[in-house]
């Protein structure tokens, strides 16, 4: 149900979500809610990451070894699980970012006025 409600805002391509998560974590370690709100803020509230996608994505990325997680204290003095970029994750981010750039430019070229 939630999925349907938020689906109208446009589902993110799976690979894209991974890229966004990695890019966000480049700023520094963050917990899940922080990651979601950061992506929303930086995209001027255009990209709303659905929690139902975020946590499975985090788990998937962690299994690939691109991020690690640990329990710590959040700013509001709450217990929270923090995610942190690994060296492997940084390399992955670089590759993904290049590929995204190329894709974005290609799409832009296609979309120029005809």
């Amino acid at each position: 149900m939630t999925r349907k409600a938020t689906g109208t805002q446009g589902d993110l391509l799976q690979g894209t979500l991974d890229l966004l998560v990695l890019q966000t974590l480049q700023i520094g370690p963050a917990h899940g809610y922080d990651i979601a709100s950061t992506i929303a803020r930086r995209s001027d509230e255009v990209l709303q990451v659905e929690q139902g996608s975020l946590y499975p994505a985090l788990q998937r990325i962690e299994e690939r070894g691109w991020i690690t997680s640990y329990w710590g204290m959040s700013g509001s003095n709450r217990h929270a699980r923090f995610y942190k970029l690994t060296a492997k994750g940084k390399r992955q981010l670089a590759t993904e970012a290049t590929r995204w750039d190329a894709l974005a430019r290609a799409v832009a070229r296609v979309m120029r006025p005809v």
Partner: protein
């Protein structure tokens, strides 16, 4: 990594729950911070998060090892189901165990004797010289060569890679510490062990200088004999041992477990010649083909050299010779190939029948479970996962059957070895090894695949709605599955016919062999062979002194009715020699035995005309012979054989008596002889007192046999032992055998094949009957309601029974016709062992068909009889 994930799950589940809960809290706080009322904030946060349970499940799914987990679930389910129907499961496992066991046993024979490389380095390059002789009378071939052929080979460029040897052993007398022992002696030329690629573990092998006539007496011992007789002492090297009554110097010990071309205890130099022993084809030649050459190359290079030498030996007799090399492995396996291939074909057929049978059983079960399966499909289970479930069930069955089958195979191999007896000596050294275990496991897997596929495939065609609506009273896919089952029954019956026909042909062969008159009375006759390969028995004089003294003692023993000595025994291989009539050029061949006086009395062979060998037929009196009726029938058609003179064994000898035929295994075939495994061959009996040096020379192949007709086998055995030891303490006694056993072992191969193939055919028949019974009883259960209605409307019960049973019998009839067609080419496999019956014997085919139809009728009528007990009233109310 994967395992850690499985085991750490509980802790991580808590982590995930906690993480989602905190997310919710943070989101709620955030919303409150933006001025949303707390109640509304909590609601919005929850809505956005969605169902926490499904989030959890989604993440759990990622944590799993899907294949492993679903498999273990399927496995648990399968085991539970199979335990719920123990009768079905046990039947299936028993069938599988039986056929997998039979296949395992036969495979272990084939693996050791036919498939495995020989235990020599680079054994593929080893070959034997082989010759094929073609004349107007047919083709014969063998690996025996004469001395001249060997010399020609040794002088050829490939000669350095070859060695001469005798491919048989002689039982010899070995004396250690004044105690006589029996040892198997093989004579091999210089370089024999080098060619095989196995040097002695200690010492050296024979040199070319030692391997010449008159060379030094040197001997190599087997590891087993060395440890048995000499306690494994190193000091034996260089010492002399007493072999055949003369001293021989030990120069080498072979490695432990070494086995050459035959089982042997001692090896002595062959000392090849071109006269005497070397004048006949009594040698064999082994060659290691050089690396740079292929076997075919070497063979064609040697063909002209060998061919020329062999032609010289044949003279101008119109026989063409083709010589070449045959792989050693093929030659050594040649005796075993035929029975093993035959048994292999039979057990494979039974395996296929069992698979078909099990597939039918599982299919019927699938029918009974159609409601369960339909329910699972309706609840959203994928067809693929239902198929997987069914395959898992057959896998569990096959694995259980395979494990039990392995044990059955273990015992079956022991059984095979026991009944093969001394006919297939090689079988005794076959053992279950890693190859066999692997093969057994693989076979079980394959069986589960074959058995499980058909029922699983049926599921894909299940109509869920229909199955549920019918309340499970109909089977899977209705009549479609019946057609599959009918096809399976026909296949089983057809294969059963093939086996039954082969078994029938073998039974007829055996009956024919058994009904052959032995020509003597084997009851109460006890024999033992004594090797005279001893320096103390070099000539006819010493040999006859031994015969006379021992026979004298035997006749004086209470309980002994008669005693005799002969060279060769009925039902055994005997000496064959050439003879001719004086004034004729042409030589002919006959089986030859020398006999002591009283031989015919002892064996109770009737003297039909003239007289038997008497004590008065001595070395100094006129040479005489007794021949059998076959001799007269075949070699003296136009003239009475009695009184004719024959040029034989260096003298002209007169035929003074004619005796009845006995069964023999002569190993030659001339016109007028009925071919077969045992035959009445033209035979010459000469008085032992009148043998010449040449006949004494044949003692290297055939030991003389003492025979006693006594009140009991025990009396006979003791009498033989006492009499021979009383004359010569150093003579080793051979195995004591009852003549009835000798007779039985002559047809042992046929009896064995008949028993095994017969047993397998019965198993096949039983399986087919079970399958048919199941089909009919299933269809009666299914149509109970219909029959009830028909009975209520006035149909006669017996008419219904007939209709149902007829459908089963019709299936079998189709199977019988199909099977009969397949049996025609299939029975050519047994054609070579048949005797007195052809492979297309109509009686056997008709018998097999009748037998199957009777069994089919019983298997169809029995379940159909249930219709008679139907009460239309109760049936309709149900």
């Amino acid at each position: 990594m994967a395992w850690k994930r499985l085991f750490g799950r509980a802790r991580r589940d808590r982590d995930r729950d906690e993480e989602l809960r905190l997310h919710l809290a943070m989101h709620t706080d955030d919303l409150i911070g933006r001025g949303v009322p707390p109640e509304e904030a909590r609601r919005q946060a929850r809505v956005l998060l969605g169902n926490p349970r499904s989030r959890r499940e989604e993440m759990d799914e990622m944590q799993q090892l899907p294949v492993l987990e679903t498999f273990s679930r399927d496995l648990r389910y399968a085991v539970r189901l199979l335990r719920r129907t123990p009768a079905f499961s046990l039947t299936a496992i028993a069938i599988l165990a039986l056929v997998i066991g039979a296949n395992t046993a036969v495979f272990s024979l084939a693996n050791t004797l036919l498939l495995k490389p020989l235990p020599f380095p680079d054994a593929d390059r080893l070959a034997l010289v082989r010759a094929e002789f073609t004349s107007s009378r047919g083709t014969s071939s063998g690996t025996s060569i004469d001395g001249a052929t060997w010399l020609a080979l040794a002088a050829s460029p490939l000669g350095a890679h070859a060695a001469v040897f005798t491919n048989w052993t002689a039982g010899v007398n070995l004396v250690v510490n004044q105690q006589a022992r029996f040892a198997d002696q093989q004579r091999v030329g210089a370089g024999f062990f080098r060619v095989l690629g196995v040097p002695p573990a200690m010492g050296r092998e024979f040199t070319a200088e030692e391997d010449v006539p008159g060379g030094p007496p040197v001997v190599i011992l087997s590891h087993a004999l060395w440890t048995r007789a000499f306690g494994g002492a190193d000091s034996i090297l260089g010492q002399t041992i007493l072999l055949r009554g003369t001293p021989w110097q030990v120069i080498g010990i072979m490695p432990e477990g070494f086995r050459g071309t035959v089982e042997a205890d001692v090896w002595t130099p062959l000392r090849p010649t071109t006269t005497g022993e070397g004048g006949g084809t009594n040698y064999a030649a082994i060659m290691r083909v050089p690396e740079r050459q292929s076997l075919a190359d070497a063979s064609s290079q040697l063909a002209p050299v060998l061919g020329e030498a062999m032609r010289a030996q044949m003279g101008s007799s119109g026989v063409t010779v083709k010589a070449g090399l045959d792989p050693l492995k093929d030659v050594l396996a040649s005796d075993n190939r035929e029975p093993i291939v035959m048994l292999g074909a039979a057990v494979t057929t039974v395996l296929v029948i069992a698979c078909v049978n099990l597939a039918a059983l599982l299919l019927a079960r699938g029918g009974a479970r159609s409601k369960e399966i339909a329910t699972r499909l309706a609840l959203g289970s994928g067809r693929r996962s239902v198929m997987r479930q069914l395959m898992t069930e057959s896998l569990v069955l096959a694995m259980a059957g395979g494990t039990a089958g392995f044990m059955v195979g273990w015992f079956a191999l022991g059984g095979l070895q026991a009944i093969s007896g001394d006919r297939f000596v090689d079988w005794q050294r076959v053992a279950i090894d890693a190859d066999v275990v692997m093969w057994c496991a693989g076979l079980s897997l394959l069986t589960s695949l074959i058995c499980g596929l058909v029922p699983a495939w049926q599921v894909t065609r299940l109509d869920v709605q229909a199955a549920l609506m019918e309340g499970g009273s109909r089977s899977v896919a209705g009549s479609a599955s019946h057609w599959t089952r009918r096809g399976l029954i026909v296949a089983q019956v057809a294969l059963g016919v093939v086996l039954l026909v082969s078994a029938g042909l073998l039974v007829r062969t055996f009956v024919n062999l058994q009904s052959l008159q032995p020509g003597f009375n084997p009851r109460g006759l006890t024999t033992t062979a004594v090797s005279l390969l001893d320096a103390r028995y070099p000539s006819p004089v010493e040999v006859n002194v031994l015969f006379d003294k021992t026979l004298e003692r035997l006749r004086a023993t209470p309980g002994v009715d008669a005693a005799a000595v002969s060279l060769g025994l009925p039902y055994e291989r005997v000496l064959n020699m050439g003879f001719r009539y004086p004034g004729e050029e042409r030589g002919r061949v006959a089986s030859v035995m020398y006999v002591s006086p009283d031989f015919f009395k002892t064996f109770q062979i009737p003297v039909t005309r003239g007289r038997e060998v008497r004590v008065s037929d001595a070395a100094a009196t006129l040479p005489v012979l007794v021949v059998n009726e076959a001799f007269g029938r075949i070699y003296s058609k136009n003239q009475d054989i009695l009184g004719r003179v024959i040029q034989f064994a260096g003298a002209q000898r007169e035929v003074v008596g004619v005796v009845g035929d006995v069964q023999m295994r002569p190993g030659f075939q001339v016109e007028g002889m009925v071919p077969g495994p045992v035959v009445s061959a033209p035979t010459i009996y000469m008085p032992a007192a009148q043998i010449n040096q040449g006949i004494v020379g044949t003692h290297i192949w055939f030991p003389p046999v003492w025979a006693v007709r006594a009140s009991s086998p025990e009396v006979a055995a003791r009498a033989l032992a006492d009499a021979i030891a009383g004359v010569d303490l150093l003579l080793p006694l051979g195995q004591i055998r009852q003549m009835s056993d000798v007779r039985a072992s002559a047809t042992a191969e046929h009896r064995m094949l008949m028993m095994l193939v017969g047993a397998l055919a019965l198993v096949a028949l039983l399986l087919a009957a079970i399958g048919l019974h199941g089909l009919i009883s299933h269809s009666v259960t299914e149509r109970t309601r219909e029959f009830g209605i028909r009975l209520a409307l006035g149909a006669s019960p017996s008419g219904l029974v007939r209709t149902v049973a007829e459908s089963g019998i019709a299936l079998v009839a189709i199977g019988v016709v199909l099977g009969g067609l397949i049996a025609v080419p299939a029975s050519s496999l047994v054609a070579s062992v048949l005797f007195g019956v052809t492979e297309r014997d109509p009686l056997t085919y008709a018998g097999a068909a009748m037998f199957l139809l009777v069994v089919a009728a019983v298997a169809s009528v029995l379940p159909a009889l249930r219709i008679l007990r139907l009460d239309p009233a109760t049936t309709l109310r149900q």
